[in-house]
């Protein structure tokens, strides 16, 4: 059975290879090849899942050793896969959502002449992501880790002729590299600490290592998480990443890749459990990010950016949970999965809206669309309810558990974290409601005015093929796009309930992640009640602002906070001033130094000898008598020296 594991990765990898090397002759069928192979991978995943279910809880870990990768003395890296409940969960999420989005993209990318390559990249991403979650050692995981980074780089920058896209792609890769640095240092630390970096030895011996080292490792892993999962302070790339085609945003920057950080922390649970300081840092990062993202989400008028903000904050929840240790791991993953459903659904909905609106992304130019695209409206609506945690829907269960866990951490930390989590819930309700209202309700602000206002340039130049400046004619998207949305909507409605009733998910994951019942100072129902209150407050405020009054087509100046939030709370400005400008100055001055100083010394020496030479040759003045003088002097010196030698 375990021999199937490699096939999980092989299928999409094959697809990527075929599509990218195949060339134009595959343009006609490329997208179908890609979709097919991702479904194949999904089916294999399901088969393996069934197999795992068949086994006893403790035997649910399959490993497949392919070959020895980098054997150097003590440094032994193998290509070995490990399929346990945790990675199984991810495999299903990735391949499942992935396949749906492949399907969706067939319709979405219809008009793009580079569609084949797009699917090639998508397959590449699937392969890398599966490698990431299936790897049995950190180095192999690192390969997948950077692999997904590459795929995301290629896909964000898919419309390379747009400078903004190219820049965004570069930014994403660079910021991720900073995170990757953390991961590689973590691996080195593991090697020096345990003499290995395979999950088995490291996690089983985590207890024996000194806490200092473990903390270091934990913090480095956290750094990696910040990069990949867009956590503060490395979150800045996610917003720009929305330059990529919407399916990409849905798959990579909502459902799967950005959650890799959570996987990393949960996977390394053993290390964190033994390093409380590192855990605290994790929770702090999570808490900060969940507020940060939420606030940013409130201010954005670009529907995708708003959703991106929300993604950030939802991942904040997961990281927070993961930071809580055994009491949180399971719920982090659970929220991750449900979030995968509804956030993907939301993005696909947004894509569908843009598809109908000539790729307009500015929500202020939407309005009242529910009549024109009912399916999108319904699915998006369900996703919306799920994310704000409407009772009974999946978001409700998963988020609620996290908030409980946060309180359950106990002590002041517990109160603070819990409070933050609650606040976050309120804000979430607010901004999601805002999106909902601005898009589907209110009067139709897109009437009798061309889209594409200069101040809000569209992300999707696929529209170049249609008339840009015509007034949009909103219409429902084709089946191939709506079906995935419907499926995801169903998932986001039922998922949470299915997982939580009878703690199915808990029992499934516990053997891997471990679980300890936290005793929270406040009762479970109190928390739920509080959440509900926050929910209502958030929705209420949003309704008051965007439901009752008409939405101005041009954004009002807004409060200081709003303006800051529009600019991602000035994070980019900071980066620009400190890193970009500073870096430019540094490099420029270094180039100068290299040329004038380092090279100057070299050329200077040469010039020096030249000068000396031209000075010395003047002695050779052509007069025989002066030559005679020098001889005479020489003779005198010679004699003198000889006598001197004898004297001393």
């Amino acid at each position: 059975m375990e021999n199937l594991i490699a096939l999980l990765i092989a299928a999409p990898l094959l697809g990527a290879a075929v599509l990218l090397v195949g060339g134009r002759r595959l343009d006609a069928v490329g997208h179908w090849i890609g979709t097919l192979l991702s479904f194949v991978s999904f089916v294999i995943g399901v088969v393996l899942f069934a197999d795992l279910l068949g086994k006893g809880a403790e035997h649910r870990t399959l490993t497949q050793h392919l070959f020895s990768w980098v054997p150097v003395a003590g440094f032994q890296a193998d290509v070995t896969f490990r399929l346990d409940q945790l990675s199984m969960t991810f495999v299903l999420l990735i391949t499942g959502v992935g396949s749906l989005i492949h399907l969706y993209s067939v319709g979405y990318m219809e008009h793009d002449e580079r569609r084949r390559r797009f699917f090639g990249y998508l397959n590449l991403f699937l392969a890398a992501m599966l490698l990431l979650v299936l790897a049995d050692n950190y180095l192999l995981l690192y390969v997948g880790w950077e692999g997904v980074g590459l795929a995301s780089y290629l896909l964000i920058g898919f419309w390379q002729h747009k400078p903004s896209a190219a820049t965004a792609a570069k930014k994403a890769f660079l910021v991720n590299r900073v995170g990757d640095m953390g991961l590689s240092i973590a691996i080195m630390l593991m090697f020096t600490t345990f003499g290995s970096f395979a999950f088995g030895p490291v996690l089983s011996h985590a207890g024996d290592a000194s806490e200092g080292r473990l903390t270091a490792i934990g913090l480095m892993l956290l750094l990696a998480t910040c990069g990949k999962s867009a956590q503060v302070p490395l979150q800045s790339w996610l917003g720009d990443a929305m330059e990529g085609p919407t399916p990409v945003s849905a798959l990579i920057h909502a459902a799967t890749m950005v959650t890799a950080g959570v996987y990393l922390i949960v996977r390394s649970g053993a290390v964190f459990n033994a390093a409380p300081d590192a855990q605290l840092a994790v929770t702090v990062v999570g808490a900060v990010t969940l507020l940060f993202g939420a606030i940013v989400g409130c201010a954005k008028d670009d529907i995708k950016k708003a959703l991106a903000g929300s993604t950030m904050s939802q991942i904040g929840y997961m990281v927070l949970a993961a930071g809580l240790g055994p009491i949180g791991y399971v719920f982090a993953i659970m929220h991750l999965v449900t979030h995968g459903f509804f956030k993907a659904g939301l993005f696909l909905g947004a894509g569908s809206v843009m598809h109908g609106m000539n790729d307009e992304v500015d929500m202020r130019k939407y309005g009242g669309l529910r009549r024109y695209m009912p399916v999108t409206f319904v699915t998006f609506g369900l996703g919306y309810l799920a994310i704000i945690g409407f009772p009974g829907l999946s978001g409700f269960f998963s988020k609620d558990k996290i908030i409980e866990a946060a309180f359950a951490k106990g002590g002041t930390d517990g109160w603070i974290l819990g409070g933050v989590a609650l606040l976050g819930a309120a804000i979430t309700a607010f901004y999601m409601t805002r999106v909902m209202l601005m898009t589907f309700f209110g009067e139709e602000r897109w009437k009798n005015q061309p889209t594409r206002s200069p101040e809000a340039p569209s992300a999707e130049p696929a529209a170049e093929h249609q008339g840009e400046h015509a007034e949009p004619h909103p219409h429902e998207s084709p089946k191939v796009m709506t079906i995935p949305m419907i499926v995801l909507a169903v998932g986001s409605v039922l998922g949470g309930g299915f997982f939580s009733i009878g703690d199915r998910f808990l029992h499934w994951l516990e053997p891997v992640t471990g679980y300890s019942e936290g005793h929270s100072p406040v009762g479970a129902w109190t928390v739920t009640g509080a959440t509900m209150v926050c929910l209502i407050i958030g929705v209420g405020i949003a309704w008051a602002q965007y439901g009752r009054k008409p939405v101005p087509a041009v954004a009002p100046r807004g409060s200081l906070l709003t303006r800051a939030a529009r600019r991602d709370l000035l994070q980019d400005d900071f980066n620009h001033v400190v890193l970009v400008r500073g870096g430019e100055h540094l490099t420029r001055s270094l180039v100068y130094v290299d040329h004038t100083l380092v090279d100057g010394v070299v050329n200077g020496t040469a010039a020096g000898f030249g000068g000396l030479s031209s000075r010395l040759r003047r002695v050779q003045n052509g007069f025989a008598r002066s030559y005679a003088v020098s001889m005479f002097g020489g003779a005198a010196l010679l004699v003198a020296a000889t006598l001197l030698m004898r004297a001393v």
């Binding site: 052509g622 025989a624 008598r625």
Partner: protein
């Protein structure tokens, strides 16, 4: 008379000759100074020969004279041809090649 004095004289003559080479312009004079130096050497040889009581020095003096004569032959030839070309026997005029 102490033969050492002859040595001093020889040294003096030699120095005079050398100085002449350094300060005189006319090639002929310069050349004569060189001859003077050679003669100073001869004097030294003879003096030493006397002091050592063997004749080698005196014989060497004869050899020196022969060599000097040969040198004169060659030297005058060269200097004369130079003079005929440039109509001046000044050593300093001959300074085409320098640096």
């Amino acid at each position: 008379m102490n033969p050492v004095n002859y040595l001093y004289l020889a040294a003096l003559l030699f120095t005079i000759g050398a100085t002449g080479v350094l300060i005189r312009r006319n090639a002929i004079v310069v050349f004569m100074c060189i001859e003077l130096m050679l003669n100073a050497c001869n004097l030294a040889f003879v003096a030493f020969s006397r002091m050592h009581g063997n004749l080698d020095g005196q014989i060497i003096a004869f050899f020196t004279m022969v060599v000097a004569a040969a040198e004169v032959v060659v030297g005058l030839a060269i200097i004369v041809s130079l003079f005929r070309t440039r109509h001046s026997a000044s050593v300093d005029d001959a300074s085409l090649m320098k640096l």
